[in-house]
């Protein structure tokens, strides 16, 4: 009895949602036809006729994708030219990022705020030590960093710097002091008005001209500074939108309680402003993550750069599509992950409280 019942339910659902009118039915059929055109060949290429095992191009005999190409280059895609014997340091360094992220994943742990703050502040130097070496570890020059690892380093640094920098710039732009306000405004407008490519070029070509001759800044470091300032300016405008969205009554209530300016900002205004613009912040993060591939033009090999190098490798010519599909899939997975986290954050009760109170 159950199966026919369920079939009937499915049919009823389909009639209600897919075939409710002639136009709707036509669109449904059109959609099905398009799916039928696209999905089977795609599946054939991606999976059914693809080759997965082997170690050279001769192992790819099918008509589908040659994933052997990706498999052979995988280490390079992930780590660039980082010495294989030292790659555990990269893995460890990335895994350590979980420590300051623990309170986000396990809410009861949030009580130990100082511990997490300390972990967060300690992370960058520890990670730098692991990745770069020194103090007992062999030094790995940043020129050897590459692949997904480099993408993550640039994106994470950009994000980590963009939030505090953007916050300060946004507060500065709303300051009552004209000098502060003007400085912040000029800074923001300058960096927002320049394409990231130009910023990177300036960082790699022009910056050394201005530095005293003895001093040379690491190429990666220069790119990181450029990316951070660029992302900070964008972030500032997003956060400023949030600050403007906090009702005047919140400022007044905070003032009336005797909080100082910085206490008002830190405890009352900024937390609310940031909550309001979570989607905007994540948007900047996602854009930043994808834009990291521009470092290619100053000779750094991020994930996309390494993939591009691999597809032009004479031994492996002809696998352009596989390379780019792989790169696209990795980029997509990270960006989608960020957007999921953003959705989850927005659903938390202390995040929602704002609209509910406004309705009351």
């Amino acid at each position: 009895m159950r199966v026919p019942e369920r079939t009937a339910a499915v049919l009823a659902w389909a009639r209600r949602n897919l075939f409710s009118s002639p136009l709707n039915a036509l669109l449904t059929l059109l959609g099905l036809w398009l799916l039928w055109l696209v999905v089977p060949p795609l599946l054939q290429w991606l999976w059914l006729q693809a080759d997965f095992v082997g170690s050279s191009r001769e192992d790819c005999r099918g008509d589908g994708a040659c994933w052997v190409f990706v498999r052979v280059h995988l280490d390079q895609f992930l780590y660039g030219f980082y010495p294989p014997a030292e790659r555990w340091r990269v893995n460890l360094g990335i895994a350590l990022l979980l420590v300051p992220a623990l309170p986000l994943l396990i809410p009861p742990l949030r009580r130990f705020r100082r511990v997490w703050l300390l972990a967060l502040l300690a992370y960058p130097p520890v990670a730098w030590w692991l990745f770069h070496g020194g103090l007992g570890l062999s030094v790995v020059d940043t020129g050897l960093w590459g692949g997904l690892f480099l993408t993550l380093v640039i994106a994470a640094t950009g994000m980590a710097a963009a939030l505090p920098l953007g916050l300060l710039l946004a507060l500065g732009r709303r300051s009552r002091l004209p000098v502060v306000r003007a400085t912040a405004t000029v800074f923001i407008e300058f960096w927002r008005g320049v394409p990231l490519i130009t910023v990177l070029f300036m960082a790699s070509v022009m910056l050394p001209l201005f530095l005293p001759s003895g001093l040379s800044l690491d190429k990666l470091l220069r790119a990181l500074i450029g990316v951070a300032l660029f992302a900070g300016a964008y972030m500032a405008e997003v956060i400023r939108g949030g600050l403007q969205g906090v009702p005047a009554g919140q400022y007044e209530a905070a003032q009336a309680l005797g909080l100082s300016y910085w206490q008002q900002m830190r405890l009352v205004i900024v937390p609310q402003a940031l909550r309001m613009v979570v989607p905007g912040i994540v948007n900047v993060f996602i854009a930043l993550f994808k834009e990291t591939s521009l470092v290619l033009i100053i000779g750094l090999f991020d994930l996309l750069g390494v993939v591009q190098a691999a597809v032009t490798n004479p031994d492996w010519l002809g696998f352009v599509l596989e390379g780019y599909v792989f790169a696209a899939a990795v980029f997509w997975a990270f960006c989608y992950g960020m957007s999921r986290i953003s959705r989850r954050l927005e659903r938390r009760p202390d995040m929602k409280a704002q609209e509910q109170q406004e309705m009351a």
Binding site: A254, L257, G258, V268, Q272, D350, A353, A360
Partner: protein, 248 residues
């Protein structure tokens, strides 16, 4: 009255919003423990007057002295005054990202540097007093308007202020919630708190106010003891106003 017994004193205070002369030659003296109700037509400057008492609005001429401290532009003195003056707003203005308890302990912890445990104990005491201790761990968005306003009163009291300011605390509430907030305010009045309330709740005014201040067009038109104000208003304007408001 000496400084010892004066809570708030306005001396020839003038204030402008651009061209608009919102407060005109305000003179007002409120004694410790006194309960004042300020009323008057919309736009007469009641909110502005009360917001001057804790420096939310600057003024251009005259002197305002609160608990012996003269309110100037100086940030230190303003913050010092705010520590002794609690305020309750028409729109509650609770912090939506904090729980009720966190709303109440925020200022004691950060401004008065009270240990968290002690601040929480104090907050629970005031939440009990406004009859809402069971909501301590809710967020403001989960409470009704009347409950939110009672939390706002508790939050202000947690700073253990000497003076409480109320700016139309019941105007944004549904009728059935007004009395729960007024009850909390009556109780507060009975505890001897100095109160300045802008309100149109004439029942409340009759019950607790020592004196009624009637404003119109930025001026204090009349101030008289409560019974006298209701029985025999001195000015035509106040008589009209009372007639309108009591007819409602």
């Amino acid at each position: 009255m000496t400084e010892q017994t004066t809570a708030v004193r306005f001396e020839h205070v003038d204030k402008w919003f651009g061209q608009l002369h919102v407060l005109q030659d305000i003179n007002l003296e409120v004694a410790r423990g006194e309960r004042i109700v300020i009323c008057g037509p919309s736009g007469s400057g009641k909110s502005t007057l009360i917001r001057c008492c804790n420096g939310l609005e600057p003024y251009q001429r005259g002197r305002i002295v609160v608990n012996g401290i003269e309110l100037t532009e100086n940030r230190r003195t303003v913050e010092q005054v705010r520590r002794q003056v609690g305020m309750v707003f028409q729109q509650f203005n609770l912090f939506p990202h904090l729980t009720v308890l966190e709303n109440c302990t925020l200022a004691p912890i950060w401004v008065r540097k009270m240990p968290r445990a002690e601040a929480e104990e104090l907050a629970m005491e005031y939440l009990r007093r406004v009859r809402i201790p069971d909501k301590a761990h809710s967020y403001p968005g989960q409470l009704s308007g009347g409950q939110q306003q009672r939390v706002a009163i508790a939050r202000a009291l947690c700073m253990q202020p000497r003076i409480m300011l109320f700016d139309e605390p019941t105007s944004a509430l549904d009728p059935e919630m007004i009395s729960e907030v007024l009850d909390a305010m009556v109780e507060l009045a009975e505890s001897g708190m100095t109160m300045l309330c802008v309100t149109h709740e004439m029942g409340f005014a009759r019950e607790v106010a020592d004196r009624i201040v009637f404003m119109d067009g930025g001026r204090i038109v009349e101030q008289s003891p409560t019974a006298q104000f209701f029985a025999a208003p001195q000015t035509e304007r106040a008589r009209q106003f009372l007639g309108q408001i009591l007819a409602r």
